[in-house]
Symmetry: C2
Subunit: 226 residues, 2 copies
Amino acid sequence: MAMQARGSRPGPRRTLTEDEIMGAALDLLDEGGVNAASVRGIAARVGVAPNAVYTYFPDKAAVVKAIVEHLLGQVDLAVFSDRKVPWRQRIESLALELRERLTAHPGAVNLMIGGPMDGPRALALNEHLMETLQDSGLDAKEAARASYLLIVYVFGSIALEAAELGHGSGGPSEAQRVASRMEGFSAIPANTFPLSAGASSVMAGYVSTGQYTWGLHKVLDGISRT
Amino acid sequence: MAMQARGSRPGPRRTLTEDEIMGAALDLLDEGGVNAASVRGIAARVGVAPNAVYTYFPDKAAVVKAIVEHLLGQVDLAVFSDRKVPWRQRIESLALELRERLTAHPGAVNLMIGGPMDGPRALALNEHLMETLQDSGLDAKEAARASYLLIVYVFGSIALEAAELGHGSGGPSEAQRVASRMEGFSAIPANTFPLSAGASSVMAGYVSTGQYTWGLHKVLDGISRT
DNA sequence: ACCTGAACACCGTTCAAGT
DNA sequence: ACCTGAACACCGTTCAAGT
């Protein structure tokens, strides 16, 4: 919310950046889950007293916001703006890129959808989606609605994926995620939930890229034609 | 994870139920957000020492799981099982019911998607969706995929809605939620994000039932035909 | 079996003080 | 302007003890 003064950075003692603090927080989040990313933990990692963090961020929520913006900022929207590429393919590429970037930090995904997602990077994403959807022939109102639908799908999918494998140590491989899913579903009692149990194998596939794409196609099918 | 022994409840001193503890936790969550729903706060509300909670639940995570299951259990799936009603309408009614029940407890929604959602109520929901989708003519594999897509949409939508209005005091009216959304979007700088800013009014509508239904229809359109 | 008092190892945040 | 030590008001959880 409150942006830090930008002019002078090097103070009397140490030189320390907002980015360093944010990076340390993200590292802790990846290594030890959400509980590990404490203000005190961050301070310890950058070698400073706990309250020194408050020189750079007004509170912990601001650090979380910085992480969210940092992660969203990792995808370069310009790459998906080439009008020579069909609009559906541009959106699909972007959706895959977002999933790849975010599933690398499962602990951060919870924080992402826990807050309003109203930072500049999030707005830029919405703006980009609306532009692309208008390219497809939708008017402004339809584009706004469809953009939000896509955001719900992409972040909803990623959030549910992240939730399934817990908030432990982050950055598991696709194979590990599938295995984790399989393990979870194999515990379903087949007598009470026959369909869910029978669908275990295919459900496990939902943490795979292919099934994410399948769902995205369905959403895009819905958007394409009424 | 570990179910409590069921046989004997009344002990030497007080009579106290898992449901009472869970209810107190939900009340605190609604009144004061996620931070207010502490083990110590729960204990104080039911008039007991903090550690007495651990007689009923192994840890705080188990209390959260109980809340999630309780909320999911509030929707009676049998109501949406009438085969005389078209399958799309059955799903739409269920999706609306879920949204209504869950948006009444915004603080709980974050907790819901923060964990695996693998309790009996969640499985029953998945089972019900798969049954309904098989009624529509999908085979088992397609039904499993489509069911997960619907779950992503419903819980993704509700989660993003809940995130927008913060984790403060819960149970705002639809009008309040729309107003909150409008307020947020009116702060968008029109020069850098023209489309997003221009879409403010329609985007505000996304916290309305009508726009939730719009998105659901698009998803169902995608599912209906490949 | 249920509950308590006391303690342990933590939190986020503030304040006065140092350079 | 930046950092520290110390403190405040909290956490979740455990343990030994009481009934």
